[in-house]
Symmetry: C2
DNA sequence: TTGTACGCGTTATCAA
DNA sequence: TTGATAACGCGTACAA
């Protein structure tokens, strides 16, 4: 009874074959005679050998079978958003053709914990929600020569990215409001930077988060002068905070929120303020997720293909690993009219 | 311009030092003179060397810095439950002292994709929700000699597991109902097996999922003859399905659901059936998660420390890796009285 | 503080 | 169908 775990060498010796033959028996890469195969398996069994050491195999192969998923926020926070969980689901699906598993990584810029982006044994990486800080993550990964796909963010120079038609979609919602007759509209935006500061956006504000910028641009194409209030994150509570701020100061006929969760919060704030939706104020969201607790309202929103987004990212990663050019990265949102928008109240 | 990436050897040669010195510069395990250090770093820079190859390092070290988290269901499904996401959050926290990252693994018994439990380069594993199928996963992992911690499941012989006082807690809720005067109670359970079949449970039904069995046991200690209806998963929709089944057949004065999501669904079904909560029927949940959309109700439930559960699992894993005996694995739920329970209607 | 030498466990390649 | 050989890239005793 040795203290050390058996290796494939031990098994080979025990079975009376060469290590390479034993290896082949486990990998199945080359046909082997039934007899040797049986002998090797028996030897493994008797030695308690349970298969090749993944670390050694991945060193030799140059592949670990692991795809890193990089978040720029606390996991708990990220997973609170249904869009993220659906995307993870699709991502798991998308990389499965690669036979890869997902490694959860967080890049908050300060943590030095290992394995970080610098040291994780990943074959590829998917960056979620490219905030400015993500650029650093990107540099690290690219420096390591690892294929990267960015979801919803600008990565610059030729890095594949999965994109929604954010501006177009948001413009559609804005137009919907305009068609109904609205012209006093306030926009509630997703975070504008890593600092996640709340507050009214100056006209010349620099927006570091692309999703936010794109959706804002789409809305402003229809309502060039609409004031915009930034939320600290995408959640019902944040939406409610934003809503309270808005209704304390003004009475717009419509609020255009950049996410369903924010919209739900705005609706809550509106009702707190004694406003009826949509009679007194119309509200639109973005994402098309199921927001529990919104009943009986059905949110007017843009439905984004969250699962498909993840799957597209996964497949893009798979393609890059196979040295192919990824495709199918541009996805479209669908406008869905609900019960939270209607004609503006007559003044 | 070579086609191959630079190794630490190349860097050492370029810097005019030995490979071991270069290695030490990167790991910081041994003091080095400022001069050599600078030289090595410069050499690395000029060769585009971004640090030790994680695969080689982990082979050498015998550690990968990765902890596997094994689910027995689709990731999307698992993450739909707030309890799971909170637990993941805690888990990420708990293993962080180890400096480890989390690898998402799924064991559905059929997938042959790699890396599976057999081949993933993990230092330890956390099994979530030990259904019968999980026993197989367990065998695989143990066979590989990898430390395992089980969350909410019976792993048998000396495998550390993070446990809630499910039976006790559920008994407290049942007693609460009994004290109010209820005696016509129906129980809605979590899945009873991997097949996730719905339906009334026979008195002698074998329950393969421990959480389900424990909570049921606690309830039956107070209401020995209460009929139990199994749901296919823990969700509001499943709760509603169960609720509809119940109210179509009978009019219990109280329904004891094994999760908050199920309870929310039951409440929805009750209201559909024209029953008021709690006047016509009381409902209790389990978990203490925030269920959006339940307002104005506040669920009477057992609050479980979901984040703490994850953290405990993470710390247990860390302990095992350090050859210590894990502790702090038993966690308690807290009874929280809400507005969904009251005295039974007079018959 | 630096260098030498070797092993970690596997698998690709090629020849037999 | 099997076997010999040579990396894969690194970390670390141990000696200098």
């Amino acid at each position: 009874m040795s203290t050390r775990r058996a290796t494939i060498n031990d098994v080979a010796r025990e079975a009376g074959v060469s290590p390479s033959t034993a290896s082949v028996v486990f990998s199945g890469k080359t046909p082997t005679s039934e007899a040797t195969r049986a002998r090797v398996l028996a030897a493994a069994e008797s030695l308690g050998y349970t298969g090749p050491d993944p670390r050694a195999a991945s060193l030799r192969r140059g592949r670990s079978g692991i795809v890193g998923v990089v978040f720029d926020q606390h996991l708990g926070t990220a997973f609170l958003d249904p869009v993220t969980t659906h995307m993870m689901d699709g991502l798991a699906d998308g990389v499965s053709r690669l036979g890869a598993a997902l490694l959860l990584l967080r890049d908050d810029g300060v943590t030095v914990s290992e394995p970080s982006l610098h040291t994780a044994p990943i074959d590829a990486a998917v960056l979620i929600g490219c905030s400015p800080r993500m650029r650093d993550s990107l540099e690290i990964v690219r420096g390591r020569g690892i294929p990267v796909v960015v979801v919803e963010g600008d990565a610059g120079d030729g890095i594949p990215r999965v994109l929604l038609d954010n501006a177009d979609a948001q413009r559609a919602a804005a137009r919907h409001l305009a068609d109904l007759g609205h012209d006093d509209v306030v926009i509630v935006t997703l975070p504008v930077d890593t600092g996640r500061r709340r507050g009214w956006l100056a006209a010349d504000a620099v927006i570091g988060v692309d999703v936010t910028a794109d959706r804002l641009r789409g809305a402003r194409e229809v309502f060039p002068d609409a004031p915009a209030l930034a939320a600290a994150t995408s959640s019902i509570d944040e939406g409610a905070i934003a809503g309270r701020t808005i209704f304390a100061e003004r009475r717009p006929t419509a609020v255009l929120a950049q996410s369903d969760l924010l919209a739900a919060g705005v609706i809550r704030a509106a009702e707190e303020a004694g406003l009826r939706v949509p009679q007194d104020v119309s509200v639109t969201g973005f994402d098309g997720v199921v927001v529990d607790g919104l009943a009986p309202h059905v949110l007017t929103t843009l439905v984004q293909p969250a699962t498909a987004k993840g799957r597209a990212a996964g497949e893009a990663v798979a393609a890059m690993l196979e040295e192919t050019v990824p495709s199918g990265l541009d996805l479209e949102c669908t406008f869905r009219a609900g019960t939270t928008t209607g004609p503006p109240r007559s003044t």
